[in-house]
Assembly symmetry: C2
Homo-oligomer: 250 residues x 2
Amino acid sequence: MTNQKPDLYTSLSPALLHLYNLNNAIVVIIDVLRATTTIATALENGAKCVIPVDSVAKCIELGKQIDSITAGERDGKIAEGLQHGNSPFEYPKEFVAGKTLVLTTTNGTRLLHMALDNGAETIITGAFANLDVLCDYLLSQNHNVILGCAAWKNKVNLEDLLFAGAVIHRIKENFSINCDSSQIAETIYLEAKNDLFGFIQEKNASHYHRLKDFGLEKDIRFCLTPNTASVLPFYREGKLIAHKNEATSP
Amino acid sequence: MTNQKPDLYTSLSPALLHLYNLNNAIVVIIDVLRATTTIATALENGAKCVIPVDSVAKCIELGKQIDSITAGERDGKIAEGLQHGNSPFEYPKEFVAGKTLVLTTTNGTRLLHMALDNGAETIITGAFANLDVLCDYLLSQNHNVILGCAAWKNKVNLEDLLFAGAVIHRIKENFSINCDSSQIAETIYLEAKNDLFGFIQEKNASHYHRLKDFGLEKDIRFCLTPNTASVLPFYREGKLIAHKNEATSP
């Protein structure tokens, strides 16, 4: 009997993405702390779209061209020339509904552009915030999947790996997984799943420390909380646009 | 109190090695299945030195120039033009003592050359075969350490990660480890350590399958067995040369 299941691979760093065949695959951009969490949250709360850009300068430039909220941080503070930060808590419905959010992120945006350059067919973003809706979508497509961790300046990080593991644990029966990185991700997730925050803390995750030093423990806890959003952000012509669960299921 | 411990980082793939500062660091080349295991075994059994080369052609060429054993495999068979394979079992004392082994490996040799190009101060090789002597050495040096996994065509693999984890578990108290990859490696090792072979089998490690299909299960079991050798291979001017435990300890 031949195995007709689609393939699933995990890329632990943008520097490894070129090793995987993105053609004819759904690429999931994962940047748990905090880009893809904030994207899911803003879209959940009714943002018209999120435009991810990789520099503060581009964010300012775009903010001048279109009616939008510009957002981005450097060293834990709102970057000079921008209006808001990267926390998901800054984008409640009352504030963000109907608006365009131009969001500066470095690791996640770079990975997204690399996926585009490498011929990804479909690009979506994932975080614990939209874990179930993402998994439902991947299960419904019968398509190859690449889980792309944004990492931190190309260095593998724990939080993106944990999320990849959470996805794999939920959907693995429907995929052919010949990928040690995916096995590693699921094993770590199973070890951590009863207390993700405690695990990150205990393991001294480098990004946890960067954020904690900026007083962002509350953000971290939220970013590790599953299913606070029911939207799936799709990347189309430079914008991330929400698809509600109903629209993406078969 | 400032932390005066040296740093330890783990690079999970040659494609990530450039992210780490190799100057003033000891770089440990890890290619558990099977290059660094065979290197430790051949040197343990008295080989004069091991010359790692990255292609069959170079191996043949060097074999013509110097009195040596040439070794390398392609698809599980001795490569055309070479005399021997990559199994540690091919290099017992009776055969290899006093001889020069020119060994073709792809992943391990590429990583080694990258470490050289990136200014590594000291390059040694590690495998379960020489786990204790390696750890003793690293503990004795009070120097920054980079554990460099050879991986498989740049894709992260389980066996090299497991070995990095084994090393970290033994020496972590003496190092400052601000590195998620190292945390991941140790966590996976602790999960697997009671039955490394069973873990590799269960997790469907891609390299395990490649080797098993070539009938090399015995090799895999040996490669996961700790402390079958007491030598530490140092790279000096193109050659890996054994230092016995006594010589390297403080």
